[in-house]
């Protein structure tokens, strides 16, 4: 799998703060990757730099093998749909026509069927659309461009749950037919998790997690039950979180569970609940995983 996006040592400094701090990531061609993190973590800055709309302070950025900045050849093969995109005072249909001239792989049939699904009419002035309808237009352009590199930055401001589901379904369906590289930033992790092959989590300008989504599922388990039994199972193992209430305890334990672990849990009356991707990402974004996921966890006991 060749890399569609390759970033090495990327730093972006503004006058009073560092938005991206020595970031290195690789996104494989033909994958859908989730770009996750809290507000202000640096997701938008990274996407803007990948889209050639902003420049790195230092480091190297390669999109489809070349620097995207002021590079017409790369920019025609790349689409960037972002939250609150600004448009000139034109109609929806005119915006689609302009996009069709710019993107060589543009599919106007797909564009009109998406607009239909979202209930946006082509003869409406963009300035008079609601926030959600403007998001729908951005998503339509992002998908119908069929660009080799498709960047979405929280593309669904103002869209309700039904419309967001339309977006996920249409993205998956069109991706299956026309594979491309999709990088999607979102804070609705639970909703979008099943779309992702890879996950990149950014926190305060640094990459704190970069892994295959399916590897993360089941990597951590909440162990709950009698405090002494919890300690017996989790003692000496990496732990993310401990809680205790009277004789009951609840601990998030990292690492795969062996059949013996399950047997021990069963016989001592412990509940085992695997953490969802969303819960793992929250732990990562909260800085629990940084700097090294394998080490540095507290290992003391929960019971006094």
């Amino acid at each position: 799998m060749t890399a569609a996006i390759s970033v090495t040592g990327l730093t972006r400094r503004y006058r009073d703060h560092t938005a991206l701090d020595d970031i290195s990531i690789t996104v494989g061609g033909g994958t859908i990757t989730g770009l996750l993190g809290r507000n202000g973590a640096g997701k938008t800055t990274l996407l803007r730099i990948l889209a050639g709309q902003e420049f790195p302070s230092s480091g190297s950025v390669r999109v489809l093998g070349a620097s995207p900045a002021e590079n017409e050849d790369v920019l025609r093969r790349l689409v960037f749909a972002r939250e609150d995109q600004a448009y000139p005072d034109i109609k929806v249909g005119q915006a689609l026509r302009a996009a069709s001239w710019f993107y060589p792989e543009w599919d106007s049939g797909l564009a009109s069927s998406l607009l239909d699904d979202f209930g946006v009419r082509a003869n409406r002035r963009i300035n008079q659309l609601s926030r959600g309808q403007r998001s729908a237009l951005g998503i339509t352009i992002g998908l119908a461009a069929r660009a080799e590199v498709t960047l979405f930055d929280e593309p669904y401001a103002g869209l309700d749950a039904v419309a967001r589901q339309i977006f996920y379904n249409r993205l998956l369906a069109d991706f299956a037919e026309f594979p491309r590289t999709v990088l999607l930033s979102t804070h609705l992790i639970d909703e979008a998790a099943a779309l992702f092959e890879g996950i990149i989590v950014i926190d305060r300008g640094r990459v704190v997690l970069d892994a295959a989504a399916d590897v993360l599922r089941g990597v951590a388990t909440r162990v709950s039950g009698p405090c002494l039994a919890v300690d017996a199972l989790t003692g000496g193992r990496p732990v993310w979180e401990r809680r205790r209430l009277g004789s009951q305890a609840s601990v998030v334990m990292v690492g795969p569970l062996s059949p013996d672990d399950r047997e021990q849990a069963r016989s001592s009356g412990l509940d085992l609940t695997p953490l969802s991707l969303q819960q793992i990402v929250v732990q990562a974004a909260a800085g629990v995983l940084a700097p090294a996921p394998e080490t540095g966890f507290e290992t003391e006991r929960t019971c006094a």
């Binding site: 994958t31 859908i32 589901q165 996920y168 379904n169 998956l172 369906a173 991706f175 299956a176 037919e177 639970d190 909703e191 998790a193 099943a194 779309l195 992702f196 092959e197 989504a213 399916d214 590897v215 599922r217 089941g218 059949p259 047997e263 069963r266 016989s267 009356g269 609940t273 695997p274 953490l275 969802s276 991707l277 969303q278």
Partner: protein, 130 residues
Amino acid sequence: MPEMAGLDEGTPLFAQVAEKLAGEIADGGLAEGERVPSTNELAAFYRINPATAAKGINVLADDGLLEKRRGIGMFVATGARQRLLARRRAEFTQRYVEPLLAEAARLGIDTDELIALIKESGNEREGVSL
């Protein structure tokens, strides 16, 4: 994630896809020699990434439960159902009997009482199905 059609978020999705397909083969829903849904069909049904669905299919193919016919797709291999049923039988004690015994012990139900309960439930089931 309500839209993921029967999968849950806590374990690898590819393993769950493999498990669901294996379950269908064992139950006879997918007969031997029948074509298995394609990667894209599975991705659309479960609303998951096609690469994840492909990985699930590959688990069963690597296990010899599915066979590839070039240019047509994946098919259920001969003997797949029997192998899956034999495996489930082998796991029956560990997956069902042992937890049952553990819970019974916790509640102070002894083995004779447990056997009586099982017989009683069995009779009720048969009564219903008749």
